[in-house]
């Protein structure tokens, strides 16, 4: 049978029915999986960033062992790919991409956004990162180095962005509230809203 069926919905229904009948994947298991995945969101990563901004020991742990740092904040990492954390610094900015597919730090950021999976993003990130992030209005100083990280294997990468000035006496909760999904991939930088 040629799988040229473009009606993905019908194919999903058919596959699910067969797998349920064979006891391989039930409706309940799929629903449970959706519920678990829905619990991951950029808010998880934002909590890690806010903690790192206020606690140098946590920052060091995050950079050394991202998975352990996530678990410390109650983010489930068992069975998940190892988390790598790319630490921005004055003069150094990181941008994450998966040119081959869409590998994304889902455990701490949730589902990858539409743009991350697009042909334009996957092609442009490794070749013209500044032109690409300009699509988000992000402009970096001329002397900032941009390191583009292509997620080609088992690690999943997130960016630990720079803390914006003017937040020196903010609480972790206040800090986490300004860290967006794009800040942890590198297409944007955290701003005071």
């Amino acid at each position: 049978m040629m799988l040229q069926e473009t009606d993905g919905e019908r194919l999903l229904v058919a596959v699910r029915r067969l797998l349920e009948a064979k006891g391989i994947a039930s409706t309940a298991e799929i629903a449970e999986r959706i519920a678990v995945t829905d619990r991951a969101s950029p808010g998880q990563g934002a909590r890690m960033v806010a903690r790192a901004w206020t606690d140098p020991d946590y920052r060091a742990l995050m950079v050394e062992d991202g998975s352990k740092a996530a678990e410390m904040l109650g983010i489930p990492m068992r069975g998940m790919p190892p988390l790598g954390v790319l630490q921005n610094a004055p003069g150094l900015h990181h941008l994450v991409v998966c040119t081959l597919c869409s590998c994304y730090p889902r455990a701490v950021l949730g589902y990858p956004p539409y743009w991350f999976k697009s042909a334009g993003y996957r092609a442009r990130a490794v070749r013209d990162p500044r032109g690409l992030i300009a699509e988000w209005g992000t402009v970096l100083p001329d002397d900032t180095k941009v390191t583009v990280v292509d997620s080609t294997a088992d690690y999943r990468w997130m960016v630990l962005p720079l803390r914006p000035p003017g937040t020196e006496d903010w609480t972790e909760t206040q800090l986490a509230a300004i860290v967006r999904e794009g800040d942890m991939i590198g297409v944007t930088v955290p701003k005071l809203s």
Binding site: D143, A153, Y155
Partner: protein, 94 residues
């Protein structure tokens, strides 16, 4: 296989298994044949090239390798670099 210490200059093999039959390769086209510098070892992981075909998949050492983009793209853009996870079997000393 040799272990590559951080700072070692390496070359990515200019090999194209895709040309020889069905393959699943996680070494992007743009680094094949390129020279880079090992940043650090990332651990050992089962070879995805084998996992993709449900073959026995021995763990292989994975490295983070830094590449200068200019010899790759010839675009004249400055101030960027590339970090790519590359498995040991794709690397040789430069």
């Amino acid at each position: 296989m040799a272990t590559f210490a951080p700072g070692t200059r390496v070359r990515v093999r200019n090999d194209w298994p895709e040309a020889r039959g069905p393959a699943h390769i996680r070494t992007p086209h743009y680094v094949r044949g390129a020279q880079g510098t090992v940043v650090r070892a990332l651990g050992a992981f089962k070879n995805p090239e084998d996992l993709a075909f449900a073959r026995p998949a021995p763990p292989r050492a994975l490295y983070h390798v830094r590449f200068d983009p200019e010899p790759i793209w010839h675009d004249g853009r400055k101030g960027n670099d590339l970090l790519v996870e590359i498995f040991e079997q794709w690397l040789e000393p430069a």
